[in-house]
Subunit: 341 residues, 2 copies
DNA sequence: CGTTTTTCCGTAAACGTTTACGAGAACACA
DNA sequence: TGTGTTCTCGTAAACGTTTACGGAAAAACG
């Protein structure tokens, strides 16, 4: 059932070299011969053995996406990544590249899985997500000279790799702007406690906007929690119990917002009535929650496509005539005004 | 930087054959020699080239999980799979098997991606999810003689492959039981409209329980919708507008439940007060929704581990001395009683 | 001491590709 | 006719492993 290039050669009574050249569209093969090869390939249901090809070419024709679940009580996934991956894989497929998603274990340090991919050469490049402010995966890959791109910025590694990020800073800024315009003065910010870079970026924008409006930055209104529903649930009461209650909360994550709203509900505080709520990254949850949550929406699928292009442009094997380029982009979010603010 | 087995051999002044044998723990190599090889491997930072190994052994040492996003307006993922994948990958890792997640595009038929994996021999086996009642992926893999296992049952392919499923039938049954015990007589069921097998199983249990309680099965109380929030939102009003309103709804999917609750809210109907709601597959959303949704919870991570074991037991290369076994299991769900019913 | 067994290791082929090299045939040109 | 060019293809090496085979040396045994 597994027909090889040798089978084709034997069947057509020509050499394997010619078969290979015909299949790969090289110029030095007779048009008629190529036709016969292609036809035989179809008839014998030939498809190239990836291992053989990889071995010879030193390339695997696949890109690894490192999906690291956050440690936590319940290990549910971030819906965020799926549309991104769809875009990523779609663009990669156009270049005959496979996308493989490599999972780590929640507690376990992702470094080990990454090493494995790199050292056994399972992929030609990797895509990192959940970038930390200081990210040793980036340090490792840079030092190893292994090609990679990141979804999200980091302070590690300089400007030596392609990266695509959402403009969390601006989103934090705009969220404050909007709330201030609606009369709010005490605005809380709730973000993940890990070293995740976007949490810092969001807070930068939040602070900047407050200052611009001449409002003080009250540390009692800023809280870090675990990046899931439980985290939001646990940490939201903390800001609500500060001496001077906030009248608005900006959540940096949809899961945290859900947990936070639960905590609010238990305190008898109704989002959209008693308090304004804005979420930075929109998901279907925000849309279908009651009240529907005002949120900032990214274009995930186009971002996936774009990061694929950026990664490819940085790979010598795929870079066009203009050579290898490192591109870094930061994309805006779109505000979706709903009922919660 | 990429040190091969040849480098080790040269460095130690022995043959590559011996190096390979030492590395693979074969018996016919001197203990001291093995020590030296292992040491050199560590020093030269050797790790085997996967392509070379795969080519020689005819095995890739990786298992593919096919993740097919449902077509829909917004392509968000099912959080369901992440904990399952964590368990799956954990057990596979113990056998030095990598897990790769292969994405398809939403609209596109997954068959094509699957073919690619199989024909180019990118994985040694595949794991299928979202099994349809009649599933041509299963037919294809069976016919191709390619090893696979499924998360979820199907009517295709007979009992020739390992499969692990949740007992949706019993969950549907128990949900009705519980609602009837609480005085409900008109109970609606909302499930996905695709050919997804669990939708049928759920409905079987639902019908069976109704009949046992001497209640008629009213087609007006059963609705199929798209398997996401929008689907639930669109289809829930339909059962609410039937001549004789239901007093309870069982949702076969958490996303549909969210959409459905939104529709209820817009009709001024409060889950937990005006209507009872039960969800078949629990997620953090159910727990943190207001009111918290009563739901049936699966043990996803253990299920992932188990399916890995079942798949391995069916692979000649990994089956123990007892030989190759096909195992099929159906696991119960645990009822988590909360506020919505 | 001779014979047999065991221990250890080197040799070389094989997995399925791609590709550098060279050669034969056909063709063009003077 | 001789020389150079172009077209087409076969040969063989190479990628990094694993492993069947055989042989040399050491050990065991009579």
């Amino acid at each position: 059932m597994a027909s090889s290039i040798h089978d084709l050669a034997r069947h057509l009574n020509i050499s394997i070299g010619t078969v290979s050249r015909a299949l790969n569209g090289r110029a030095d093969v007779n048009a008629e011969t190529r036709q016969r090869v292609l036809e035989a390939a179809r008839k014998l249901n030939y498809s190239p053995n990836q291992s053989g090809r990889s071995l010879r070419k030193g390339a695997t024709h696949s890109i690894a996406f490192m999906l690291q679940p956050h440690p936590g009580d319940q290990q549910y996934g971030e819906p965020f990544f799926i549309p991104f991956l769809i875009g990523l894989q779609a663009r990669l497929a156009e270049h005959d590249l496979d996308l493989m998603v490599v999972m780590g274990e929640p507690g376990q340090y992702q470094q080990e899985r990454l090493r494995r991919v790199v050292e056994t050469r399972r992929a030609d490049a990797v895509v990192l997500a959940n970038t930390r402010r200081e990210d040793d995966r980036i340090d490792y890959l840079s030092k190893a000279g292994f090609p990679f791109a990141t979804l999200g910025r980091s302070q590690s590694g300089g400007d030596t790799y392609p990266s695509l990020d959402i403009d969390f800073e601006r989103a934090g800024d705009e969220a404050v702007d909007r709330l201030v315009a609606r009369g709010h003065r005490r605005i809380a910010a709730i973000r993940p406690s890990l070293d995740l870079n976007f949490g810092y970026l969001f807070l930068d924008g939040y602070r900047k906007a407050l200052k611009r409006h001449g409002l003080e930055v009250d540390p009692g209104l800023i809280a870090d929690g675990f990046i899931n529903e439980t985290g939001g649930y646990q940490v939201t009461p903390r800001v609500m119990l500060s001496r001077d209650r906030p009248t608005a909360i900006i959540f940096n994550n949809d899961a945290m917002a859900l947990g936070g709203c639960k905590a609010l509900a238990e305190m008898g505080i109704r989002p959209g009535h008693d308090i304004a709520v804005i979420v930075i990254v929109d998901t279907p949850l925000c849309r279908y929650f009651s009240p529907a949550l005002t949120a900032f929406r990214p274009s995930l699928e186009p971002m996936g496509r774009r990061l694929a292009e950026m990664l490819l442009a940085s790979l010598p094997a795929f870079a066009g005539p203009e050579g290898t380029r490192i591109i870094r982009e930061v994309w805006p979010l779109e505000l979706v005004a709903r009922e919660s603010d």
